[in-house]
């Protein structure tokens, strides 16, 4: 596209080429129109731009990419997506968004305008999903954000009716955690001192600013409440100070590297409160791999119904497809479920009609690995907010009303030597 300040000749050229292209396209369409309809769809083009490089790679490589690949493989092995009475295979076009919002939007525009994909799968993470929201909305593509946690989700769902926010809001996450703590205190399993740390970045700021008032309103004593900058390489001072305060509850709204570092340091310093909760990364297979028996009783954000046959089956298929790599126990299953929803919506509509697919996603009921899903105001009605490692599996424990919720193991068992 010619820049705004380009000389007029250049603009003219662009205009001419564009008009020529349009004319050519129109002629083609006119002459080939009939055959095109008769040939119909031979494949469904699905495009995505995902973080293959840059800081988001760690998350995308665990949660998003394996699920996209698993789903495409399974659908194509079954013959494809059912359009009317025949199955049509998926053709994938993918780019690297380099963990960069502008690059993600550019890649999406390329997918839409140049590759002319039928559907688009979203990028990984809250930031990038917010960044691509306007483009997907403008172009009328369904946007199934399965890895974004934001308090603006209800508002965004209203503003962009094509967008679906499947992972919920941070206020909800904090509320569920505090409800669980409240219940544990009522059962006299814990006292009321809480130590909270958070990373000074999107996730940590959102969660801690939602948890702070919720904890104070529930009359918990916040003995420690501090944040640390992203990329902090030694969290020992924080852990040591908290240990000296001897709290009943330790909450860390952390990112994967710090989640691992905080757990490691707590074990070394012997910080073993009755409730030990860490943030993103607790649900990662790497966490179990690194801490083994020491995961027992650790709580974290996320969780899934580990006892459900659908989840067990999903876990087995994921491992088989991804070279033995396990999914994470939070957004992975939701991501896979979002793909099942997309497929079911397309099949119910029976043709590539994005507006109808969006409508079906808004109103339909879907059968997925995380159970029956029916969206209300473009958001699910139930989420897993607190999970706990119990016997090598990260089970959802809160909200307690969720089907398959396990009882929390409190107090957390002591750390053992690795």
């Amino acid at each position: 596209m010619a820049p705004v300040d380009a000389p007029w000749e250049e603009k003219m050229m662009t205009f001419l080429t564009r008009r020529t292209a349009l004319l050519a396209a129109a002629t083609c369409a006119a002459t080939l129109g009939l055959t095109a309809i008769a040939e119909a769809q031979t494949s469904i083009k699905i495009g995505y731009a995902i973080s293959r490089t840059g800081p988001n790679t760690g998350g995308a490589a665990v949660t998003t990419i394996p699920n996209y690949e698993l789903w495409v493989k399974e659908v194509n092995a079954a013959g494809g997506i059912k359009l009317g009475d025949k199955r049509v295979p998926i053709e994938v076009v993918q780019y690297d968004d380099r963990s960069n919002a502008e690059e993600a939007v550019r890649a999406l525009e390329r997918l839409i305008n140049q590759d002319k994909v039928d559907f688009i799968l979203p990028p990984w993470g809250t930031g990038l999903n917010l960044a691509v929201g306007p483009t997907l909305n403008r172009e009328g593509y369904p946007h199934l954000a399965a890895t974004a946690v934001t308090d603006r989700a209800p508002e965004l769902a209203k503003r962009w009716p094509n967008s679906f926010w499947l992972l919920g809001t941070s206020a909800d996450a904090a509320k569920s955690l505090v409800e669980l703590l409240n219940k544990l205190r009522d059962e006299k399993k814990i006292g009321d001192t809480v130590a909270m740390v958070s990373i000074a970045d999107g996730f940590g700021i959102d969660l801690s600013s939602a948890a702070r008032p919720a904890l104070t309103n529930a009359k918990f004593k916040l003995a420690y409440d501090k944040s640390y900058p992203i990329g902090t390489q030694d969290l020992a001072p924080i852990v040591n100070e908290i240990k000296a305060l001897n709290p009943d509850v330790f909450i860390a709204f952390s990112y994967p590297p710090d989640t691992l570092a905080l757990t490691e340091q707590s074990r070394i310093a012997g910080l073993n409160p009755k409730v030990f909760y860490t943030g993103v990364g607790t649900a990662f297979p790497l966490y179990k791999q690194k801490f083994g028996k020491n995961t027992e009783g650790v709580m974290g954000i996320g969780g899934w119904s580990g006892d459900s046959p659908a989840i067990k089956d999903y876990l087995a298929r994921h491992k088989a497809a991804a070279n033995g790599a396990e999914p994470d126990r939070w957004a992975s299953a939701v991501t896979y479920a979002s793909l099942q929803m997309l497929q079911q919506a397309i099949e119910r509509v029976g043709k590539i009609d994005r507006a109808a697919v969006i409508m079906d996603l808004q109103t339909g009921t879907f059968d997925t690995v995380i159970g029956k899903v029916k969206l209300e105001n473009n958001m699910p009605t139930r989420y897993w907010w607190v999970g706990q490692w119990q016997d090598g599996e990260f089970y959802g424990i809160a909200p307690a009303k969720n089907e398959g919720a396990r009882a929390a193991i409190v107090p957390k068992p002591a750390w053992v030597a690795p």
């Binding site: 944040s227 990329g231 570092a261 490691e264």
Partner: protein, 289 residues
């Protein structure tokens, strides 16, 4: 207090370790190596692979990875960087050229690591148990890393000040043209120093991998940290590197313990700025131009 100081020393030791190689590469060989952090991560991956795949302890891994890194870096200098050194009319031009060349190298190394290991986070447990040291509980792997850093630092310092080759290296650092006048083979000394820097960063990568979580794209963090330490300590100055690393680590640990962990970065950069305002050539650097 002891605890905060100990933590600070361990963190500072790690910073110094990370930066030692860069100060050699930048200060002596005049190569501003932007792919420095990627080399560190590559060594971390090597150590992870040896440990999880072959049950080879990272300490033994050091003996394998470090010489390999030396040879690899020597080859890189000879094949990729020597042409740049030859055609550069002066130091500034070489700096610009080497920045561009090693920036490209960043993508090559990062891309290879992504292809081999994928983008996920990696971490393993080695010596991850508490030990009592000076009456405080610290992590054994961090303490071991500090010990090895001190050994490496002392050995390097002795080599640079007590041996003939070391003196030659220092002469090249001060003035590569004058060094030629006293029959020092400057290209050879530069190549060896660059390779030595590469060996040091590999050692840092192996040690850091025992206690930090890393992924194929986390190299840039280490390049930045190393650059700060090198510039703050005085480019090409080993002792300056150690002093600057420890100063950063101690300030970070003290601020995190007594003020607020949220201010560690601010204090780091404030210290960096203050040093540069008072001594633009770094703590122990000499103003040459």
């Amino acid at each position: 207090m002891t605890n905060a100081i100990l933590t600070g020393l361990m963190l500072g030791g790690m910073y110094a370790l990370i930066a030692m190689g860069l100060t050699l590469q930048y200060g002596v060989a005049r190569i501003m190596n932007l792919s420095y952090g990627e080399f560190l991560i590559a060594a971390a991956f090597a150590s992870h692979w040896l440990f999880t795949g072959w049950a080879i302890s990272p300490f033994v891994g050091l003996a394998l990875v470090v010489p390999l890194a030396f040879v690899l870096n020597f080859a890189i200098y000879k094949l990729l960087l020597t042409p740049l050194v030859r055609r550069a009319p002066n130091r500034d031009a070489l700096e610009v050229d080497s920045i561009l060349a090693t920036f490209g190298l960043t993508f090559v190394i990062q891309g290879s690591m992504l292809a081999l290991f994928g983008g996920a986070y990696y971490s393993y447990s080695f010596l991850a148990f508490p030990v009592q040291f000076l009456g405080e509980t610290v992590a054994a792997n961090r303490l071991a890393a500090l010990g090895i850093t001190i050994l490496l630092g002392l050995a390097l310092y002795a080599a640079l000040t007590r041996t003939r080759a070391g003196t030659a290296v220092r002469a090249v650092a001060v003035d590569p043209f004058a060094a030629q006048l006293v029959a020092i083979n400057v290209p050879q000394a530069s190549a060896l120093t660059f390779a030595l820097g590469g060996a040091l960063v590999a050692a840092a990568g192996v040690l850091v991998s025992t206690f930090l979580t890393f992924s194929a794209s986390s190299g840039v963090v280490f390049t930045m940290k190393a650059l700060i330490v090198v510039v703050m300590g005085g480019v090409g100055n080993m002792l300056g590197c150690l002093v600057a690393g420890l100063a950063l680590g101690l300030s970070e640990a003290l601020v995190a313990s007594y003020v607020d962990p949220g201010l560690t970065l601010a204090v780091n950069f404030a210290l960096f700025l203050a040093v540069l305002l008072v001594k633009p050539a770094g703590l122990l650097g000499r103003a040459t131009r």
